[in-house]
């Protein structure tokens, strides 16, 4: 075995070692990325739940009624105490 062959063998082994190291590093990076994405998914899921809870609270009849009263509009709050129902008013408004 001459020096050239030994050198080629060492170079080949070095390349293989580097590839293995690179692949392992890539695998670790991917695993970390997967964990990060899963964490993001869990975080987004959590935020979605929070937003849905907030929306549900804002849409409760009581909250809507409070908003109608607090805002300067001419709207009647749903099922507020009114003398005649909306349908009757609409009917009387027809030409």
């Amino acid at each position: 075995m001459n020096v050239g062959r030994v050198g080629f063998l060492i170079a080949a082994l070095t390349v293989i070692a580097l590839v293995v190291v690179h692949l392992r590093a890539e695998r670790t990076r991917c695993a970390a990325r997967i964990v990060a994405l899963e964490s993001d998914w869990i975080q987004l899921r959590r935020e979605l739940w929070v937003l849905q809870t907030r929306t549900a609270r804002l849409k409760t009849p009581q909250r809507l009624r409070d908003r109608v009263v607090s805002l300067p509009t001419d709207l009647a709050a749903p099922a507020a105490e009114i003398e005649s129902p909306p349908a009757a008013r609409l009917a009387s408004d027809r030409p």
């Binding site: 959590r46 739940w49 849409k59 009849p61 507020a80 003398e83 129902p85 909306p86 349908a87």
Partner: protein, 581 residues
């Protein structure tokens, strides 16, 4: 450079041999120890290593949402963080407690005590369900020993309004009462989990080879309840209870045509977000389905239906009501307003106990008992609500000669508010008894319909449609227009209904309690085509202010009918003609 070999002497050779043997023995011992570690100790050491390096992270499943009939969300899950400490990573308990305590608003001593008590555990709960600000404050500590664990928590956006219908969910995620309990298996999901490799500071480095167990979210429910009508009923009932300084009350709004319950309210109520803050355990009970009561005169139309159906009385017959005082055997029965001759319309309109007693005596025990059974009394209605009482209808052999008079006046029989309104619904619904229901649809976790419960379920016909219409559209209209139910006619709609006032028994012994009354009114509107049926029961109003069903419960029913029909955009119509037999 050259080396010369020098012959070893005997001592040197022996020392060399001893050293060699020693090294061999040492290596053999090491090999044996290695073998021991790799065989006998291996399972324990692997377990310790994986405990140190691996961490399981639970991905909470979402319990299904509950919607009202118009798609409003009335119950849903949100995630809340629990603050915990890993005692194995704590260097100085006192210092950590001093740093953590102000962030979670707890005394440092309490935090330190908790950590010490759980010294052998890796998870010591310090503050459950903290808000986002607290969570961020804890996170900013950057202490590896302190962590945040996510947990699903049930949230009820409508708070007190639907408490008794929905029930609540315990810390373990299981339904404890109401719909949450009845449909627990459908609503509950299955939590997922993933296993992570962590560094010494318990930061996630990567996931282990196996895929995580994905969470399976629970299915959703659509109720027949309408949150707006529920709020109307709750406001009206609470106002009535306050006005008459009553102990409490129940109200039910129902669609008589299909048995859908549109609202079911109990006062006092509680916040299902914090059920432990309820005044008492009784305040958490859905009395509308669990507590049977003697319904008083509101029961009379049920008896009247059968009496007319089987010819025990005719619409034209006039019965002597003995000017308000009459003996049935040894029992003296009195009317609140003395009357002479009354036909059946007059008896119902004036709510004459004597008139009804005379009719009931003609019917006899067997027919009366059969009537109660036919109207579904003495058995559960089958509504999807846990803890429903079947009420009490005594077996026929326990009835006495006084029973007909008692039953005709709404005594000696115990019915739940739901049973009473359901029996009334049969009268309003042309004589057909329906099964009441609270749930309209079962949805999957992605919103697909799994099971529709929307079709009405008929139980049986309890009275002919002709008699039912006469009782509803003549007798019960007359009660509101000329009799005791006038205060229910507060809006632009024509209302039918019946009042009732019953005495209440002592809660801890027999006998009626002086001054303790149950005020009842059941009413429906509009008369020509009843869209809603409303029952209100007010328990123990202050008799100094008022206690008759006509004074206490009827105005509440009137208010609920007026506002609900306006909300449903039901136009007021001309008064219907009276039905005739």
């Amino acid at each position: 450079m050259s080396f010369q070999t020098v012959p070893l002497d005997r001592v040197q050779r022996r020392s060399g041999a001893v050293l060699l043997v020693g090294i061999i023995v040492l290596l053999a011992a090491l090999a044996a120890r290695l073998a021991y570690i790799n065989t006998t100790l291996r399972p324990r050491l692997v377990a310790i290593a994986s405990k140190q390096q691996q961490g399981r992270s639970v991905i909470p499943a979402r319990r299904g949402m509950i919607f009202d009939t118009r798609g409003r969300v009335v119950a849903l899950d949100r995630q809340v963080p629990d603050v915990f400490v890993d005692p194995a990573l704590v260097d100085d308990v006192e210092r950590l407690a001093a740093e953590l305590a102000p962030r979670v608003n707890l005394p440092a001593r309490a935090v330190a005590d908790r950590i010490r008590r759980g010294a052998n555990s890796r998870f010591v709960l310090i503050a459950p369900g903290v808000d986002a600000v607290t969570a961020e404050a804890v996170r900013s500590m950057g202490n590896a020993a302190v962590g945040l664990a996510e947990r699903a928590r049930r949230s009820y956006p409508h708070a007190e309004t639907m408490a008794h219908v929905l029930g609540w969910v315990g810390r373990d995620g299981h339904g404890m009462e109401g719909i949450e309990l009845a449909y627990d298996a459908h609503l509950r999901g299955r939590s997922g989990q993933r296993t992570m490799i962590r560094d010494a500071r318990r930061r996630a480095l990567g996931r282990l080879g196996q895929l995580p167990v994905s969470p399976v979210d629970g299915g959703h429910l659509v109720l027949t309840i309408d949150a707006e009508i529920q709020l109307i009923a709750e406001e009206a009932l609470a106002a009535g209870v306050r006005r008459f300084e009553a102990e409490g009350g129940s109200a039910i709004v129902m669609s008589p045509k299909d048995g859908s319950v549109l609202a079911m309210v109990c006062v006092p109520t509680f916040d299902p977000n914090e059920p432990v803050t309820a005044e008492s355990a009784a305040a958490r009970r859905n009395r509308a389905v669990t507590d049977p009561v003697e319904p008083g005169s509101s029961f009379k139309p049920i008896i009247t239906c059968r009496a007319l159906e089987d010819g025990f009385v005719s619409t034209t017959e006039r019965i002597d009501c003995h000017m308000g005082s009459h003996r049935f055997g040894r029992r003296l029965v009195k009317d609140t307003s003395p009357q002479g001759l009354l036909d059946i319309r007059g008896i119902i309109t004036r709510s004459s106990n004597i008139g009804m007693g005379i009719i009931a005596e003609r019917m006899g025990n067997e027919v009366l008992h059969d009537t109660l059974r036919r109207f579904g009394l003495g058995e559960r209605t089958g509504i999807d609500c846990p803890g429903e009482s079947s009420g009490v209808v005594y077996p026929l052999h326990r009835w006495t000669s006084y029973s007909p008079t008692s039953v005709a006046m709404g005594y000696e029989v115990l019915v739940t508010p739901l049973q009473l309104i359901n029996a009334f619904a049969a009268i309003v619904n042309d004589g057909i008894l329906m099964r009441p229901r609270l749930v309209r649809e079962l949805l999957g976790s992605r919103g697909e319909v799994i099971r529709s419960l929307d079709s009405p379920r008929i139980v049986r016909r309890v009275v002919s449609s002709q008699v039912a219409r006469y009782v509803a559209q003549d007798l019960l209209v007359s009660v509101v227009e000329n009799g005791s139910g006038r205060r229910a006619a507060t809006g632009p709609y024509q209302v039918l209904g019946k009042t009732g006032t019953a005495r209440l028994v002592y809660s801890d012994r027999g006998g009626y309690e002086p001054g303790a009354y149950l005020s009842v009114f059941v009413g429906a509107a509009p008369v020509a085509d009843p869209q809603i049926l409303v029952l209100v029961m007010v328990r123990r109003p202050n008799p100094q202010i008022g206690y008759y069903g006509a004074a206490v419960a009827a105005p509440v029913v009137g208010e609920i009918i007026k506002r609900t029909l306006a909300y449903l955009e039901v136009p007021p119509k001309a008064k219907s003609g009276l039905a005739s037999l």
